[in-house]
Symmetry: C2
Subunit: 446 residues, 2 copies
Amino acid sequence: MDKRKVLSLRHVLMLSVALNVGLFLRLGYVGEGWRAEQSLHGFCLEEKQQNRGAPMEDFSQKVAHVSKGKLVEAASSSVAHSDVEDGGQRDINLDHGDPTMYERFWKQMGDKTTVVISGSQYISYFSDVTNICWFLEPEFAKTVIRLHKLVGNAITEGHYIVVGTGSTQLYQAALYALCPPDASEPMSVVSAAPFYSSYPLMTDFLKSGLFKWAGDAHKFSQDRPYIELVTSPNNPDGSTRKPVVNQKDGILVHDLAYYWPQYTPINSPADHELMLFTVSKSSGHAGARIGWALVKDQEVARKMTEFIEINTIGVSKDSQLRAAKILQAVADSCDRVGTGSEDVQPFFDHSYILMEKRWKQLRAAVEKSGLFSLPNLSTARCNFSGRNFETQPGEIEDCEIFLRSHHILTRGGEHFGVSQKYVRISMLPRDEMFDLFIERLSEIQS
Amino acid sequence: MDKRKVLSLRHVLMLSVALNVGLFLRLGYVGEGWRAEQSLHGFCLEEKQQNRGAPMEDFSQKVAHVSKGKLVEAASSSVAHSDVEDGGQRDINLDHGDPTMYERFWKQMGDKTTVVISGSQYISYFSDVTNICWFLEPEFAKTVIRLHKLVGNAITEGHYIVVGTGSTQLYQAALYALCPPDASEPMSVVSAAPFYSSYPLMTDFLKSGLFKWAGDAHKFSQDRPYIELVTSPNNPDGSTRKPVVNQKDGILVHDLAYYWPQYTPINSPADHELMLFTVSKSSGHAGARIGWALVKDQEVARKMTEFIEINTIGVSKDSQLRAAKILQAVADSCDRVGTGSEDVQPFFDHSYILMEKRWKQLRAAVEKSGLFSLPNLSTARCNFSGRNFETQPGEIEDCEIFLRSHHILTRGGEHFGVSQKYVRISMLPRDEMFDLFIERLSEIQS
């Protein structure tokens, strides 16, 4: 391993323990996988060509292709993947953030969270016609309210609940609801860089006349209405965020997908106009595709419901039922006083401890290295757990990396509106893959 | 009942037995319900005012509102409904088409179609990374192929399967996939009137720069690329459809949601470029929000998958699993030769017989009447059932109606691109509501 080569790359490792779950690319392939990965991150091309002998034309084609539909690029690859097979030659995929880390907890729960749905249930389009969000299952709504109250991370009183097919759909519903239908030009949508890398694509993929992506909120200075996305903790860097534009015509959307006690200290219940949450990030059930919005304004809630009605005529009843059961189990596990269920480990304890352990492993590997460094993040007290801890994930700067040549796949900073010297790594895979990652990281410095 | 008044309305009753399922409005209310219903259909205002005393201003406001988001209008009403309560004063809602008619069959099936999902299953975003549609559950795909082969209504060989959150999402995915991303102006989307009343809204609600609704295909004459939706059997009138524009730059999307043997004779397996199907119409499980597309072109399948990835990051795994189990039960019930399961009534037999019975009831009520008439539809042989029968639903013209004043809620023809003299009625409610409808219809003529 040529250390000078490594240093010359000048890429900074932006490690976010969990905030990287939002994006997910299937890049863990030998051969094709490399090319896809390189084009997505747009650097190390020359070096990789030397290593793999792939022609330059392929890379540029990939780049052109990926710029239009990057998420699909790898997912649609027909090459079977093998993320954990080792020998140092197979790729460790830490680019997509499939939250399989929590799988073990749910296995331990056994039948407690098993749902049973008969063929004659949930046939109708309708869940509750007395609710503005007429396709919202009452049981799911009840559980959301209970969990927020228990965790203390959001105020539900005075908010309407709108359920969506993941917070992805709710983000689009929010844009539809917040933009006037008859404006002469599309509303600008901004977020402070580094921002969640899917925002630009989700905003612009249909070339809507209602809204358009306008990039980094720090650079927005036009004197007209805009929507600012405030992602806190932020994806990808874990930072706690406030609005940055602060003009009078601004409308705020708070993406609080990671505002849960395994990721960051809960210091007060959020009480914003429009807040987005998702099951994928709270309990890890990404496959259910269930998210929810807490919305103060009735008309906005109605228009978000309208979007989901036109887009998908509601949201899977089966997944709402399952999400209700799972979040109920999360709440039960944390709300044990006097219930006699002390045999169950609280979910947020389990997930916090697992995350803390991974951070320790990472710090140990990084500290042994001459190539990486970690910042000291500020510590805060979590009102939910009573623990004092640093936000985990956090942004880690000044780590020069060469992870790619060690078959560790990550995502480049340009996808988040920052320089290519940043790289994001998912730390939510199953243990085997995470352990392999730590092992390789240690090898790099030796 | 003043018969002259009835006749003077000159509204034609367009009864489609099942094709009306696609739309669903919650309009079965006393008071508010009337206003919503009237504004949606845009006629009988004066007469209704006399009856109900509601101010004219309210109607015009409602009309303006409904034109932007008509589906939500009634769904979001907070007035509790009571569809079947009688005395002749409560509304019978036959405007939305919730397919509750099949509920009884699924109750009879007992545990055979019950799904059981543990908390540790289906956590991942991914279903099968070797498939272009990487979020498609293999079990669901296998069942779709088996069912089409058994029923003989579509060729699956040479087609990719793309799963969607209902065929509604797949329709939007198809538009995204078929329109060039860099065209100077949006592609025109047309369908022969009367067309499914949600098409215009689904096409235009985001003011996309990629595509725009261009109305009745019969009136389309521009010499440039276009997309024609061929809905067969058609919603709302049940007619068998072929493309009508037939220009060289046309791209066809076949919406075959109702091409199942309870609705129409299956004369040959459809083998088009892009075909849409949905669980809501085949088995009646609207609440699962599962549809599928059969797509010949690989790149179109890839781009449809990309749309769903950006829009909702895949499709509920829970509902795919449930849909697989239900469609498997449908196939099992019809594929009994040598399986020893003769105790189960074949689903398509059950649903055909139920539909046939309702048609007979309707014809009897209509024939006794001096106000309604039914056309003689042509009869064809169904290759699946071996039965000779008329498409049920069918278009019924020359029926002058006054259903509204009898509290029977329907949907006006202007939503389907035809004259207001047409009205569509859903005939897929539970038996109690259908029987009440027949009873009232009989009363009208007496």
